[in-house]
Amino acid sequence: MTEFMRYISGYLTSDKTPGGAGNMFWACVYILLVFAGVSVGVICMNWLERKILAHMQVRLGPMRVGPHGLLQPFADALKLLLKEDIIPAEADLVIFWSAPFIVDLAAFTVFVVVPFGPTHAITDMNIGILFMLGVSSLSVLGIVMAGWASNSHYPLIGALRSSAQMVSYEVAMGLSVVSAILMTSMNDTGTGTLSMIGIVQQQLIQKEWFIFKFFPLGLIAFFIFAVAMVAETNRAPFDLAEAESELTAGFHTEYSGFRWSLFFLAEYGAMMAVSSIAVTLWLGGWLRPFPNLLAGTTWDQIFSYFPGVAFLLLGAICFYNVARMPKHPYFRIQTIGLAVFGVVLALVGLVLFIPAVSVRIQDIFWFSAKVAAFMYLYIWYRGTFPRYRFDQLMRMGWKVLLPLGLGVLILTAGVGLLQIRS
């Protein structure tokens, strides 16, 4: 037993990821944590998307289930689980069953290498970014399977559209990723890295986020990726695969209940995954903002308060809304619920002020905050843009982003060469 305890506690002093240290126990813990974290993220995202989109569109959004609809995702999940599971008679059973799981598997496996902090990743592969791109490209298989197995026209067309779209945007995406990887080799030793943690550490060493590196090359590469990742995840304005005015619901038209919710989970998981790639490659991963402009221990100290302050602010927003709740007995439970939620948030915020906690948590906080910013962008796009037509989408991928990506790649290499020479 003591040996087991030592095995567990032995990792705590390690400066490697659990996968890197070969510690199975902590690897499993991290897997559970990441899985739970992503699921909670999807739940939050569900609520936030409906709320933010509603407020953009002068509506209120969910208001009935829980205070300000906070429990709406749970109600939805319950409803989806209780719904009848309809499988079309002519569907290809095995493929129809397995398609949602493959999409989910692809979306969640990607998080194995996502670095939430220098040691906060399940493992650190030395082909990390390659692995991420590869596995996230597998989700297209699930989509094609779902569309084909439904044995129906709309899903098939939707699946064909989305696979064509994902395959073509992968090219531009890959090129922009390569230009970022090229930037990792602009150090003293001249060796780059494909490891996700290594990429962020290079940004730390070079004292520059890659988005600002070789201005504007890094910015353009980031822009290409930011466009391609929206197309990769089939979100507005590239949601051709599920354009409801044309294809009902695209590849998941025939899915209902639990299976549909798996697609939903995968979509949001994939959004987070590609956002994490963007954050890792260009926005400095877990690094706090302005690492070189506002350097020094004082600033480190100030920035370490941010997670706590953020949660306290969320709690304050809750209390503000508690004060605004109608003073009617009908709303009493909702008011109390919101107040309790605010208290919980504020308590979390206070806990985050403890130095021992804040040191461990702030990497994760900055990473999640950056990913959350991308999530907000996704919602914003959806509220703002009309939908592309399919030929325009293809033209955009092949004739705009691809040459742009190639140009950025060549220029990055050239500028890097000049820098090494000088």
Binding site: Q57, E246, F385, P386, R389
Partner: protein
């Protein structure tokens, strides 16, 4: 997502209101009562129909943008349309079937503060057009989806009998409000917006401009509501002269005409409606030639049809 216009009752409302208007106009001509109209009636009719035009264009904009994938304008337009409907509701008690027009004038007096509320609405609405345009007019994706999509030339429009904003966007300056002024339109100052290319984008711009022009007309009309009766003296039993008559007005979607044949009895011998949606829909074939399937959605949206009017 189904096109809401094909399902939801509010879409019919604009039509019913305007249709009442024309039908009565035509009837009036048949029984030759036109000149006896009280002046108030004409001005009020302009206000009400122009409000209707705005409401119709708002509905069109929201659903058209929704079809092309922009979900937000729908909520903006419905928010603002609600203000118009409130005025209507207060005026005649109905939001859906505004039924104030009668032979000889209007049934209802305006309520207290009608002018003020209409003016309030105008002040409220004027910046909102800019809001819609901000979302769409210079949006690259909107431009790509609508420019050079569903092109139709002015000649083709005329050959097919297409009227309304579709015709005007193709460069033909034809508006019955100017060409054969009815009600009090000749007293008001407004422009007929026209486009050059006759594509979906031009039709969008024309309708946006028409909303502005409607605001301009209502502005003038609200200040010019004369005192006096709203209804002329109408005999209990009307016996029109034997003959036939066609009268049309510029409905929001195009020319809406009624053809009535009278045999001298109290009932019309024959009534035929010339609906704008039915006729405009004919252009769909021509406009979709050589385009992609996804463009059909944009083209159907830009024609601004109400299927209840087409399927008769």
């Amino acid at each position: 997502m189904t096109d809401p216009r094909s399902l939801s009752p509010p879409s019919l409302e604009t039509h019913v209101a305007v249709r009442d208007d024309t039908f009565l106009d035509t009837n009036e001509l048949v029984i030759n009562m036109g000149p006896q109209h009280p002046a108030t009636h004409g001005v009020l009719r302009v206000i009400l129909t122009e409000l209707n035009r705005i409401a119709s264009h708002q509905l069109w904009l929201g659903t058209h943008a929704l079809d092309i994938g922009a979900i937000t304008p729908l909520f903006y337009t419905f928010r603002d349309r609600e203000e118009i409907l409130k005025i209507y509701e207060k005026y005649c008690g109905a939001r859906l079937t505004t039924h104030a027009f009668r032979i000889g004038g209007l049934q209802y007096e305006t309520y207290n503060g009608f002018e003020k509320e209409v003016k309030n609405f105008l002040n409220f609405f004027r910046p909102k057009i800019g809001e819609y345009e901000e979302l769409l007019t210079t949006n690259r994706i909107w431009l790509e989806r609508t420019r050079n999509v569903g092109k139709i030339s002015g000649e083709d429009c005329i050959a097919l009998g297409v009227t309304g904003p579709v015709l005007r966007a193709s460069g033909v300056k034809w508006d019955i409000r100017k060409a054969q002024p009815y009600a009090n339109y000749k007293n008001f100052d407004f422009e007929i917006p026209t486009g050059q290319n006759g594509d979906t984008y031009d039709r969008y711009l024309v309708r946006m401009e028409e909303m502005r022009q409607s605001v301009r007309i209502i502005e003038q009309a609200v200040d010019a509501i004369p005192e006096g009766p709203i209804m002329a003296k109408v005999p209990k039993v009307m016996k029109p002269a034997v003959g036939e008559v066609y009268h049309s007005i510029e409905a929001p979607k195009g020319e809406l005409g009624y053809f009535i044949v009278s045999d001298g009895s109290t009932q019309p011998y024959r009534v035929r409606v010339r609906p704008p949606s039915f006729v405009n829909l004919q252009a769909l074939d021509l406009m979709c030639r050589g385009q992609l399937v996804a463009d059909v959605i944009a083209v159907i949206g830009t024609l601004d049809i109400v299927l209840g009017e087409v399927d008769r």
